[in-house]
Amino acid sequence: MPSILHLCQWIYGTQFSTAIRESPYWFPLIEGVHTLGITAVVGTVAVLDLRLLGFIMKREPVSRIARQVLPWTWFGFAVMFASGLLLSIAEAATNYFNWAFRVKLILLLLVGLNPLIFHLTIYRKVNTWDIANVTPWRARTAAVCSLTLWAGIIICGRLIAYVNM
């Protein structure tokens, strides 16, 4: 896909990209914020997933936890997305060839599909299993998929820096 490569190289050459890349403060600072944004997303998602699996907060209805947690998941997602975009702009041309970066993008797409499927299927009938200690197998499968995919995203994200060397 040479056109995407050209786009990445053009982005890489812009003043904005170069400024982030070459500043001794901006890149690490944005990276730090990115890490903490991921923490907010994955940490809050994990609370819901672990409830679905019956590990924590068993006395609380699932829908109530979901309602309380999700606004902060989205808040974290906004921080993660904005900072991640800046980092990608700064490293556009090198990241294009980085396999860890490519795998991370694919996993991000999949991790977006997971809650979509979850909410359109089993979660629609949540009132029938809201207070159950053991949730339906499809809900537990969604939780395992979510935890696995997010773990993969964190692993690939950290590997980007190792693969680039």
């Binding site: 923490t39 994990a46 964190i154 950290r158």
Partner: protein, 158 residues
């Protein structure tokens, strides 16, 4: 103040040598550290937001503090174990790293402060409104953990 000879000894242990010389050892433990951070940080955030009255409002404060204890305590243990392993990859180098020093000072303050707060609230029996002191404590906790995260990222750059 800290015996430097102890650091040299740590570096020479087989675990220290492994963490320094292995190609994937450091990367793997670092990933483990970050995975633990995700679960730990998210749980801390939910506890502090509840103390602030900004999340989980349908549940009493003490119950949120209680039910998230396994995640915050388990998380801090996992982070400490992986953190010690990372430290063993270069004890003397880290000891002289200003970002590392700052992180450790902040960490011990946050550790005592946050868990005194969370355990204290978890022991309560009655549901009540968030007091001003509790809100202030939650803000201090969030700011401390946030600074620890940034200082941690800075270790690799200074």
């Amino acid at each position: 103040m800290f015996p430097v000879s102890l650091l040299h000894w740590l570096a020479k242990t087989s675990l220290g040598v492994f963490m320094r010389d292995s190609t994937y050892g450091f990367a793997l433990v670092e990933i483990g550290h970050l995975l633990a951070l995700a679960v730990f940080g998210g749980a801390i955030l939910m506890v502090d937001l509840r103390f602030l009255g900004l999340g989980f409002k349908s549940q009493p404060i003490y119950r949120v503090a209680q039910e998230l204890l396994p995640l915050t305590v388990g998380g801090v243990i996992a982070m400490s174990v992986s953190g010690v392993l990372l430290f063993m990859g270069g004890p003397v180098r880290y000891y002289h790293n200003p970002a590392f020093k700052l992180k450790m000072i902040l960490f011990f303050i946050a550790l005592i402060f946050h868990f005194a707060l969370q355990f204290g609230v978890a022991k309560r029996k009655a549901a009540g409104r968030e007091s001003l002191w509790l809100k202030l404590g939650a803000v201090v906790s969030i700011v401390l953990w946030f600074a620890i995260g940034l200082a941690g990222r800075a270790i690799g750059y200074v």
